[in-house]
């Protein structure tokens, strides 16, 4: 009786194809991933049951720190460039090309207009050390309020860019505040927004379970 010899198959599986696929996916995710912009202050947002996600469209973020300083950040290099040129012309700030470029790639800023030039001249590491008093708000006179000017002009700039086809959407206004921020600071920001006819905006929150849905599961 011939002994039946089981055929030894090679235990190795060819991983090349799998490796190809996984690296393809990896590349895709790396390229689509948006780096989180560096923020000047750390805010701990409160939680809510809201399920709506932040849209992908350009956002104009108003960051309110625990102490009530306001920082502004807007998406889009084109818009920022256009905006700083407008602001520079209007308020005679005397920024040069280099500084305008720096503004267009900077993140959130919270310095009065008068201090913007030295802030732009500083390196990103030095900026963190600089005093950030926040953007001044004047709730009595809207024309004198720097925050109102920034938001209004930024929206106009975005609108202009949309006309030129450089961006696809208008700004979504987002307020991001720390959960311990006192209400008067928020009130100032909200009043500024309503004064310039921004009646729709979004508050950034963390996720929290919806109790009515929890009941349904039970």
């Amino acid at each position: 009786m011939p002994k039946h010899k089981p055929k030894r198959s090679n235990p190795f599986i060819d991983m090349t194809a799998m490796c190809d696929v996984s690296f393809l996916l990896l590349t895709f995710f790396i390229l689509t991933a948006k780096m989180r912009p560096t923020e000047t202050v750390i805010v701990d947002t409160p939680s809510s049951i809201s399920q709506t996600k932040l849209p992908d469209a350009g956002t104009l973020t108003l960051l309110v720190s625990k102490e009530g300083q306001v920082f502004v950040d807007m998406a889009g290099q084109h818009t920022r460039r256009y905006l700083i040129e407008q602001i520079n012309d209007r308020y005679q700030m005397g920024l040069n090309d280099e500084e305008k470029l720096r503004f267009s790639i900077a993140g959130s800023f919270g310095v009065p207009r008068a201090n913007l030039k030295p802030w732009l001249d500083a390196s990103p590491a030095d900026r963190a050390k600089m005093e950030a008093p926040g953007i001044p708000i004047d709730t009595a006179d809207i024309n004198n309020s720097e925050l109102a000017t920034w938001v209004h002009m930024a929206r106009l700039a975005q609108f202009e860019m949309k006309k030129e086809g450089k961006v696809s959407d208008e700004y979504v206004i987002v307020v991001k505040a720390d959960k311990d921020t006192p209400y008067p600071a928020i009130q100032k920001v909200i009043n500024t927004l309503t004064d310039i006819n921004v009646n729709k905006f979004n508050l950034i929150t963390n996720m929290e379970a919806d109790p009515s849905k929890l009941e349904a599961i039970k």
């Binding site: 190795f12 060819d14 991983m15 090349t16 799998m18 490796c19 996984s22 690296f23 996916l25 990896l26 995710f29 790396i30 689509t32 991933a33 948006k34 989180r36 947002t45 409160p46 939680s47 809510s48 049951i49 809201s50 399920q51 709506t52 996600k53 932040l54 309110v64 987002v174 991001k176 505040a177 720390d178 959960k179 311990d180 921020t181 006192p182 209400y183 008067p184 928020i186 009130q187 909200i190 009043n191 927004l193 309503t194 004064d195 006819n197 009646n199 729709k200 905006f201 979004n202 508050l203 950034i204 929150t205 963390n206 996720m207 929290e208 919806d210 109790p211 009515s212």
Partner: protein, 207 residues
């Protein structure tokens, strides 16, 4: 894969024998690593997107004063968000009684749902058709006015808005608090001296 073709030299009898080594490299650890990184990037891109809570503020115009007055007092409850996570509330506007509660499920939610039930008995829920889905939704005729005091913190406002969503309140508004109401919190026994006209003016930011 150059390192795989190592020719063995100096073997016995000077015979150059290239040992047959498998040219295959085990790619399993590489795949492991790649998938680990994929998972990382997938999670950080989708999970890092923050939630948002849309807020719509009333326009600062005194045009809808009539509509303002058309609302019956018994439909209205005013929440005043105070210090130390406390909520003061009163119903209506003529000689109201001040009460306080907190943000827990047993506190504010009960107050709102209780008021909603009472409003429903007098003013039946209006039915509104959702144009997108075609479903009819029942909308309570209760009006909630949220007025944070200067001692409130941001979390309180978000909590109050959240409670509106949980309790399915359609009609709510965020307004600035008035002097009269601040005094009312400080001294509830003295009562609230606040008229509907003043309320309407406060709604558009004219104190």
């Amino acid at each position: 894969m150059a390192e795989m073709q190592v020719a063995e030299k100096g073997g016995k009898g000077g015979k150059v024998r290239s040992k047959k080594l498998s040219t295959r490299v085990d790619l399993t650890p590489m795949v492991d690593l790649a998938f680990l990184l994929i998972t990382f990037f997938m999670l950080t891109t989708t999970l890092s997107k923050p939630q948002i809570m849309p807020v719509v503020m009333p326009e600062k115009k005194l045009e809808d004063l009539e509509e303002f007055q058309a609302t019956k007092e018994s439909q209205v409850i005013t929440l005043m968000l105070g210090a130390n996570d406390k909520v003061y509330y009163y119903e209506g506007i003529t000689d109201p009684k001040l009460d306080s509660t907190d943000y827990s499920a047993e506190g504010l939610r009960k107050v709102i749902l209780d008021k909603k039930d009472r409003v429903r008995q007098i003013f039946p829920d209006k039915e509104k058709k959702d144009e997108k889905t075609g479903d009819t939704k029942k909308i309570s005729q209760m009006n909630v006015i949220i007025k944070p005091t200067k001692d409130a913190r941001y979390k309180n406002i978000v909590d109050a808005f959240d409670e509106m969503k949980i309790c399915n309140v359609a009609l709510y508004v965020l307004l600035d608090i008035s002097k009269q109401e601040e005094e009312f919190i400080a001294n509830p026994a003295a009562g609230l001296k606040f008229s509907i006209e003043e309320q309407a003016k406060a709604a558009v930011g004219q104190q």
